[in-house]
């Protein structure tokens, strides 16, 4: 089905019943991978991401070691059964790029200088994909890093915004992702109010971009409050 053939908005509501600037149902759980130093599961509607952090730990092979500070490695992967048409296991080009993008979204907050020669490994597995997987993964990774005791300047929260038809929307699901006029992935340091990830494709004018950035920032603050809530609940 070509883009634009599906009606994504009916009577001011999106296909899943949401208002344009409404987040999906969100669930967050800590400690889902007991072997890891820190882990979390985050669900945005039908998108489920699990993140696990190992580290800091010794980095092999030795030639990768940096004496001035540690490194951050991120691996984003989608389970073969996570998508409608089975995805062959293993990294594809999209996963490689997203791994890098997630790493750059998290790196600015981590005090890597405290861990020379070591690595902090973040693994993000998408168990079910229904749009906005990378930002869901970042929210999970952020929780996993904090619960692993990794020293950070701030948490990192993320969300997606975009445009379907003429309407600006928040938190794109799968069908919206595939049929939008534009979509933006956005990651944000909530306390310091700094942007660490910003990816966009589509067609937008500056006013729309400004508006979407406002919407994204507000949503990230809401997501941050949820992260705080789930952490305080667990460590009470």
């Amino acid at each position: 089905m070509a883009k634009g053939e599906i009606k994504l908005m009916v009577n001011g509501k999106r296909l899943d019943g949401r208002l344009p600037e409404q987040l999906r149902d969100i669930e967050m759980k800590l400690g889902v991978v007991s072997r890891a130093d820190g882990s979390a599961m985050v669900r945005f509607g039908n998108t489920i991401a699990v993140a696990a952090v190992y580290g800091p730990r010794e980095l092999y092979p030795r030639y990768l070691q940096e004496s001035r500070g540690g490194i951050l490695r991120v691996r984003y992967n989608m389970a073969p059964f996570s998508v409608t048409d089975r995805k062959s296991p293993g990294p594809d080009r999209r996963s490689v790029e997203i791994s890098k993008v997630i790493r750059l979204a998290l790196e600015p907050v981590i005090f890597l200088g405290e861990f020379p020669k070591a690595t902090i490994d973040v693994f993000v597995e998408i168990l079910q994909a229904d749009g906005s997987t990378r930002v869901t993964g970042i929210n999970a990774a952020s929780l996993a890093l904090a619960s692993a005791g990794i020293p950070m300047k701030d948490m990192v929260t993320a969300c997606s915004v975009g445009k379907i038809g003429d309407t600006l929307i928040l938190d794109l699901n799968g069908i919206e992702d595939n049929n939008s006029e534009a979509d933006i992935s956005f990651a944000f340091m909530p306390s310091k109010e700094k942007v660490t990830l910003f990816q966009m494709d589509g067609n937008l004018i500056t006013e729309e971009i400004k508006r979407l950035l406002e919407v994204a920032k507000d949503a990230c603050k809401k997501i941050y409050e949820m992260q705080k809530g789930v952490i305080r609940e667990k460590y009470r």
């Binding site: 889902v32 073969p80 409608t84 693994f123 994909a129």
Partner: protein
């Protein structure tokens, strides 16, 4: 590492758990956990967690079985699940696990593959079972085999409209006739135990995985570990596996 030390270690951890050598840890099974899969299951065996997803894809049959559907089992030891798992293509343990689970399902004739033929010699349903390890706390094989069978039991065949698969609608259940259960039995010194934890596995040198069908028939077996086993040991371990498989089968009836 002496055998006495190994037994001491294993019995210490079992005492902590309140578990005897022939007892399973707590088993939790959740079917249909992944919406995008045609069938799926989340299994927790103690701390070990595995998700199995079943996806149905159209394909060509194998030349020697032109009227049968195709079964492919794949396992990912995701680096998320253990500090010892590395990124990259499946290593020998992941490949071995996938093949053990495959043989248990295939040899037991779990799936009626002949009912998955759409056009003889040309078009059949290919059943992909993808095993995703989420947390490794020992005994991955038993957990993976269980998750796979439960996923198959709940799998539905999507509607076919000519060449097109309409995944939102379903035609029928995947035809499953037998439910093989795999039990791995371990031997340390002169003692036998089941459901090894991670700590157990670090000291156990001889294991036998046995896939048992509903009617008590043994369909597949695999010895693992560096140590040798006597024939009497093998027989005893097979008996234990058959006996214990019933406990698991009760959970998936």
């Amino acid at each position: 590492m002496s055998e006495e030390y190994a037994i001491d270690l294993i019995e210490t951890w079992r005492k902590l758990d309140g578990r005897k050598l022939d007892e399973f840890r707590k088993i939790e099974i959740e079917p249909n956990i992944i919406k995008n899969a045609e069938g799926s299951a989340h299994v927790k065996l103690g701390g070990t967690e595995v998700i199995a997803g079943v996806k149905l894809v159209l394909g060509e049959p194998f030349a020697d079985t032109p009227n049968e559907g195709v079964l492919i089992v794949n396992a990912e030891f995701t680096p998320l699940a253990s500090p010892d798992f590395e990124s990259g293509p499946p290593g020998e343990n992941a490949v071995e696990l996938a093949r053990i689970v495959d043989r248990g399902i295939r040899e037991s004739k779990c799936i009626k593959l002949e009912e998955l033929c759409i056009e003889p010699e040309k078009k059949v349903w290919c059943v992909f079972i993808d095993i995703h390890i989420i947390n490794h706390q020992g005994n991955l094989i038993d957990a993976a085999a269980l998750a796979s069978v439960v996923a198959l039991m709940n799998a539905k065949i999507p509607k076919l409209d000519g060449e097109k698969i309409i995944r939102e609608e379903f035609e029928r259940q995947l035809p499953v006739q037998y439910k093989p259960v795999t039990v791995t039995v371990c031997k340390v010194k002169d003692k036998f135990l089941i459901d090894p934890t991670l700590e157990d596995e670090s000291v156990i040198q001889a294991k036998l995985s046995v896939a048992v069908r509903d009617d008590g028939k043994v369909c597949a077996m695999q010895k693992q570990g560096k140590e040798e086993l006597n024939v009497e040991d093998l027989e005893k371990m097979i008996d234990i596996a058959i006996e214990k498989s019933e406990e698991i089968r009760k959970l998936i009836r």
